[in-house]
Amino acid sequence: MTGDAHHLLPSATPVTLIGVDGRAVRDELPDDAALLRALQGLITARRLNEQAYALVRQGRLAVYPSSHGQEACQVGAAQVLGDGDWLFPTYRDTAAIAERGVDPVEALSLLKGDWHCGYDPHEHKVAPHTTPLATQLPHAVGVAHAARLKGERTVVMALCGDGGTSEGDFHEALNFAAVLKAPVVFFLQNNEYAISVPLSRQTAAPSLAYKGIGYGIRSERVDGNDVAAVLAVLTDAVNRARAGEGPQLVEAHTYRMQAHTNADDATRYRTDDEVAAWVERDPIVRLEKHLRDRGLLTDDSLAEMRAAAEKTAEHMRDGINRDVEPDPHDLFAYVYAEPTTQLREQGAQA
């Protein structure tokens, strides 16, 4: 029973396909089209992060937890999914939500303060972004298990941060998934921090991916700033889950380049030097360089990509700057399928 246990352990070092210098480290790269699509995703995601940040400064968004620096994970998580698959994001994953097709203006409704979830989760099969840490993970397992019972070949991509792995729900979700053989890919964005708390105070594990074997879940580690590697590792995980091999765990090693949110002061707990060291590992620079070196990217095609990203930014500005007064009656209309007598009375007073 335990002879073959070691295949559940991750590689001793994170999988990298394209190095910091833009050079391929291994042969098994995603194909050119995939890499170009990834670059467009990265550029749009970065622009989305910047635009959201600007909107916070202008007072149009209350708060924004940025995935700046983690765009390879955001894009990878969305791009490896098929139409019938589901994405379960956290509050930091607006870029992944948008990459999946949700209107970013709707996705930012929570942070604008209009409504808790501004999009229809069923439309793009994207769950509401979840704030209570790790609580989305059992939901992801439930969606996957229901799909299996219905005979659908759905795979569920469930996102979680390094901090979130400490919660009981992380543990329970992974265990349920493994026992039920639910087709879930648990994708951990280890960005080294949970607000101010560094990874070393979050876990004493060799790395988060070593948690998988304790559930009987095959696990892998990947350089989270190398979108090629993220795509390759996640694609493999999605394929295995879809093929009935059960849940998969992937840990991406990445870094939260900005403060937790604009309300946070990161200087209290980390040095500028530490942050600077990650600048050179930027996921976009790396892929751009790689594609240029291989002649797959020109100034023109890059400009086109940037223009597309700018369109998204413009759409965000327009949408977020437009004030839609939320309807007070909404407060009472959706608590239950039918408002109770009491809610009708209360709604009439309000």
Binding site: D120, T135, P138, V141, V143, L149, E172, Y334, V335
Partner: protein
Amino acid sequence: MTVHEKLSMGQALNRALRDAMAADPAVVVFGEDVGPLGGVFRITDGLTAEFGEDRCFDTPLAESGIVGVAVGMAMNGMRPVVEMQFDAFAYPAFEQIVSHVAKMRNRTRGKVSLPMVIRVPYAGGIGGVEHHCDSSEAYYAHTPGLHVVAPATPSDAYGLLREAIASPDPVVFLEPKKLYWSKEEVELSGRPAAGIGKAVVRREGTDATLIAYGPSVPVALEAAEVADREGRSLQVVDLRSIVPFDDETVCAAVRSTGRAVVVAEASGFASVSSEIVARVTERCFHSLAAPIRRVTGYDIPYPPPKLEHLHLPDVDRVLEAVDDLQWEDS
């Protein structure tokens, strides 16, 4: 076609599950020991055998996981019915219940509904040890977005559970475990009359109204019986549904007598019984000849078995409270 059968409350619940599963393939049952064992109270007895492992299955031992997985399954077209083994063992699922089960519909402006039922064998009176006898209804009733029901008879157990499973909203279904073995003729077919949200007058009476739900209903009825022999006519209202609350029936009852006593096992402080006193007083103040009294569990942790009789509302305590309602003739 309507069938009647004499069933205990436990059997009625089992039948409700079976009938619901037969009627709708989206209904799935899971939890701890609900499979081959049939649950520690045998409420899920035979379901795995009849419907297979996909429809009724044992899970790992983790209540937050059970409820969280149910949320996901409900998001994806199923109607999960999960069992929490005992009242206090639902607490690990509290965050899932309060932050997700109760809020998902509202969060998504109705786009995602969670048709799911959380069954909780609850309350005391069975000589159980710590953590097996909690009356936890207030925690759920205080949380907007949940329906909270508690049957007091086998018929209501059957009817309310069928309705809870059919409901588009999540229902916390509180099963008074001391009543699992109580028996009655139960009407089994056809969709039963709407019970969620509707209280019922269990006994007519003119002098004062006893308001009770779940495990306290038989206590109230017995008290009314004794009072009758002592020449006092007590009306008994069974809430059945705590949320939604049936103000109409309850207030009409209290107005008709002008006096009321609320009977509930849970500790009284900041409880469902507080709410009943508050809302009935707000609505019926000028019909009241005396302040509404409460007969509840004390504000103490549930006692060890040998002392639980002191804690639980009984006929004497109810009748003392009735005596206390400032009768003109005393």
